[in-house]
Symmetry: C2
Subunit: 388 residues, 2 copies
């Protein structure tokens, strides 16, 4: 398998983007990615594009990949949309990387876009709820806040998790996001504010939930053997893995772990030849505060039941043992479904190039992204390295 | 790049499938594919699945790939949905093959499913129309029958194409489809019947248009180096290519050719190291009769303007120079959007293994599939060989 490098990355500001449609958002992210290629890249060198998108809003239910490729000045290249719910973007990155690894092409584009804010909350719930089990669970009223809340209650029961510890995730991620000019919610929040926020589903309050956002992201990948044409500072995709699980939560063994993530992480670590304790910076899928805590053990950053201790001790803050969501995460930066995966990669790209500004993790050599579809109905994990 | 082989393939009967939902249709196709693996395959050996699906009907707008993987007894594997409108299925096949070619896995599944018949014709038009340019052309009333009809008129003007010659495509494909127990429309039609069918958009009548169908399809792929574990009769994926074009037809240079197909075919032939005149049997995307004729020249089976002569002389009938759509094509077999690509591959798999029954092309060594999204907004072409 040929080694794959990232040579450029871009993302839009996330949030209410009534100023732009899906194609303009994708283009905005792509132009930043193109501009970030140190020695420049002729867009004609890009041979293939995979676009993460769930199709929420916008009304383009077919060929949005053709539309955004055209908008990016790439008319003619092979392009397809990839959907695995909220994990769509990372699946797109993996598909593009795989094409390079196989030798199908030397340079490819992965990205994502979602335009959600223009449709009603009711419509958003309709779209997003269908990423769960419709027949038995969705119709019985089990929404995503509901199932993540159930997982939080199970953690309280099994490990003595406290609501304050959930709130600490929000406080940390808003603190990081307040420093990110592209974040949707840039306000800092206090522990008291999170604790007092209106309950969505016990024990999760409004401030335990990420917002739904508009946004786009783009990553330009090249075969490692040609990357030096474009930059002396590529970031290598050292490993990746994917997994799924029974869509119906009622079929799962427990609510303390997401099997899809465990499988994806094992594959990614195996391919990269590293272990979880080698990871120095990570972007994880904190669609709810409990989701970030579940990820710590599923990714092997700590033992099962130890996640609450990690957040309490500040181990995942900037300056801690393994900073998590230095971008603000989904919680503060926002969550435009199909764009989230490549936006996580954008952050790790910046971190490993030493361009992360006030949230830079000193000397970061190895980074990870963790992207989850639904309540672990799907997952994708990538490991990145600064050196080959 | 590792060589890739097909070791099994299956498809459901296409048509009104009110008896089954998407997951059951996918499973039905998968079980046939699994059963067709000569020495058997433990489903645990399948590591990855890509599923072609546009999401039309059924209401599963996220994670249908997780759902159908689970239904097929593959819970846990990495799985994603791929959408490039009507070309989704072939893009899924190419993504799965690419993963094997790269060495990400040894055995992968590609397939597709669509459940259309349970929604209204109005809803179907809403879904399918969005695979065109919404802002300028769809809102102006340009449907897919409309744009293909415009292309037919252009061919009449440029090359003297006659309506009878369009009708000959329908007659041929229904004749083939009448012998296919899985075809949606198994009735033979006469030239007079097609000519007299009610006009949809001049010069296309109802019998120039394919039906919308329910259905599923599945192909099991393996690295060529391990294929002998499973069968002595693999079919090799010798080459593939993809392409897109400006989504707005008003931006195209002309209506006589689909640039996405030309690009995809060039790439596929180049990878396979063959030319168009080496192809002995082909399944092409005849969503309308004119679409099949456009494909003849775009694929290089004849020179521009010669397609009408090919159909008139019977060169693409079974027994002709290069039989096209021996399955009945989309026109007679049916067109369940996401399932179409891998169903075309199913037919070529059968042909190259000598299992095509009454429509068998004697001694077929090289076959081709041609799958188009929208009016050439996207395309994917694959070349298959019986021998390595």
């Amino acid at each position: 398998m040929r080694e794959v490098a990232l040579i450029g990355a871009g993302m839009t500001r996330f949030g209410d983007r009534m100023d732009k449609g899906a194609r303009e958002l994708f283009s905005e992210a792509f132009e930043e990615a193109l501009g970030s290629v140190d020695r420049g890249l002729d867009r004609g060198e890009i041979e293939l594009a995979y676009v993460g998108n769930q199709g929420i809003g916008g009304g383009q239910l077919g060929l949005i990949s053709t539309l955004v490729a055209e908008a990016a000045g790439l008319t003619g290249i092979g392009a397809a949309r990839i959907e695995s719910a909220c994990a769509s973007g990372t699946y797109a990155l993996i598909a593009a990387a795989t094409a390079i690894a196989a030798g199908v092409c030397d340079v490819a584009l992965a990205g994502g876009v979602e335009k959600i804010r223009e449709i009603s909350g009711r419509e958003v719930r309709g779209w997003m709820g269908t990423s769960g089990n419709i027949e038995w669970e969705r119709l019985a009223g089990l929404t995503f806040p509901g199932v993540y809340a159930m997982a939080a209650v199970r953690h309280m029961d099994a490990f003595g998790l406290r609501k304050e510890q959930l709130a600490m995730v929000a406080v940390k991620n808003h603190e990081n996001g307040s420093l990110n000019s592209k974040a949707h919610l840039r306000n800092r929040v206090t522990l008291d504010q999170v604790m007092a926020s209106p309950t969505v589903c016990h024990p999760l309050g409004v401030f335990d939930c990420c917002p739904t956002s508009d946004g786009g992201s783009a990553v330009i990948l090249a075969a490692a053997e040609v990357a030096s044409r474009y930059t002396d500072r590529p970031v290598y995709l050292a490993g990746f893995g994917t997994g799924t699980d029974s869509l119906a939560v009622s079929n799962r063994a427990d609510l303390l772990s997401l099997g899809a993530v465990v499988r994806a992480a094992q594959n990614a670590y195996g391919m990269a030849g590293i272990g979880p304790r080698d990871v120095q910076v990570a972007e994880v899928h904190d669609c709810f505060t409990i989701a970030e805590l579940i990820s710590y053990a599923d990714l092997g950053f700590c033992d099962r039941g130890e996640a609450q201790g990690m957040i309490e001790r500040g181990e995942t803050r900037v300056g801690g043992r393994i900073p998590v969501n230095t971008s603000g995460g989904l919680k503060s930066k926002g969550h435009p479904i199909g764009a989230t995966g490549c936006a996580q990669v954008y952050t790790i790209f910046k971190q490993l190039r030493g361009e992360a500004g006030p949230v830079q993790v000193d000397g970061a050599e190895i980074g990870l992204t963790h992207n989850v579809g639904g309540f672990g109905g799907s997952a994708a994990v990538c490991v990145f390295r600064r050196s080959r």
